[in-house]
Amino acid sequence: MLKGSTNTDANFTLLTIHGPSAKLEGKFEIAQSLHIECEVGGELSVGGELLIGERGTVKANVQTVDAIVQGTYEGNMVASGTVEIAPTGHVTGNIETDSLVIAKGGFFNGNVTKKNTPQEWKLPPYRAEDRRPNLVLETPRSTALV
């Protein structure tokens, strides 16, 4: 537990920056979530959701759970949850995640690494039963095989 902040409320605002512009650089460790609409560089470690807004420009190595990119992101990202690139998003770099969503119009240039790839997903689909979560198939796989 950090010395200064003992509030565990997820909606508690720990840091707010107002104004026309801001430029931050350094190493940020955040237990919950973060909303960026300015220029940020360095290293980010987020324990919740990272939201890069439309005006946000982030050039950083990021370790997070979930991420939504509506602005510009450059760097290496490791996400244990979902990464979403919005239609206005612009991402250059490598993303290591379990699930990546790129909306139509979203820009992405780089490598994607699936974090936990079960062995059976490496098999061709006709040889393995698909056990991806939240996947709704038109016809059940068992009947399709017959």
């Binding site: 950090l2 605002t13 840091l15 707010t16 920056i17 026309p20 190493k27 324990g47 005006r55």
Partner: protein, 187 residues
């Protein structure tokens, strides 16, 4: 008398050949009407029993200004955060977490009561409710509120230390260019 044909005289109602012209012009209706005086009933304000003026000490001491306008540029939520680095902020920053490094603020710096700042700061105004350690150069006012704890040097134009605040360090009064104020006031 003989040559004359008898004319039967039938009595006819005399048709008036001439008719009085209908007056095309009409007196204009007066548009102006007597103003009806609106009746205004002034109801006496409903006097509610005043709520007891008890505010949580946190709510009183919290000085983060309530702002309306564009959404913030950078916002951190949650239980805890630790930021280290260089922060260049054009306007204002409110800190409720652990922060270290270098701060350059073009407006107001607010260190909330949860804030722990260990930094070299250049700012205009500062309000300190939490912990601050380091050197601060402020071109405006520095205010240390009762919960504030400051360890370090402050160079500022005006310094306010509230009763109960802890301050340990040097204060350097910023002497503004003496010719500016005097020259302007005597013009």
């Amino acid at each position: 008398m003989l040559g004359r044909t008898k004319t039967q005289t039938v009595y006819r109602e005399p048709q008036p050949a001439y008719r009085e012209p209908q007056p095309a012009y009409r007196e204009p209706q007066l548009a102006y009407r007597e103003p009806s005086i609106p009746t205004v009933t002034i109801e006496p304000p409903i006097e509610e029993p005043e709520a007891p003026q008890f505010l949580e000490p946190e709510a009183v001491a919290h000085t983060t200004p309530v702002r309306q306008g564009p959404p913030p540029l950078f916002k951190v939520f949650g239980g805890e955060a630790k930021l280290d680095g260089r922060f260049e902020v054009a306007e204002s920053i409110a800190i409720e977490c652990e922060l270290s490094g270098e701060l350059i603020v073009g407006g107001q710096l607010v260190i909330g009561r949860h804030g722990v700042v260990n930094a070299t700061t250049h700012t205009v105004d500062a309000v300190i409710e939490g912990c601050y350690e380091g050197t601060m150069v402020a071109s405006g006012t520095v205010e240390i509120l009762p919960t504030g704890r400051v360890n370090g040097d402050i160079e500022s134009d005006s310094l306010v230390i509230a009763k109960g605040a802890v301050f340990n360090g040097n204060v350097v009064k910023r002497v503004p260019d003496p010719t500016i104020g005097i020259a302007r006031s005597h013009r």
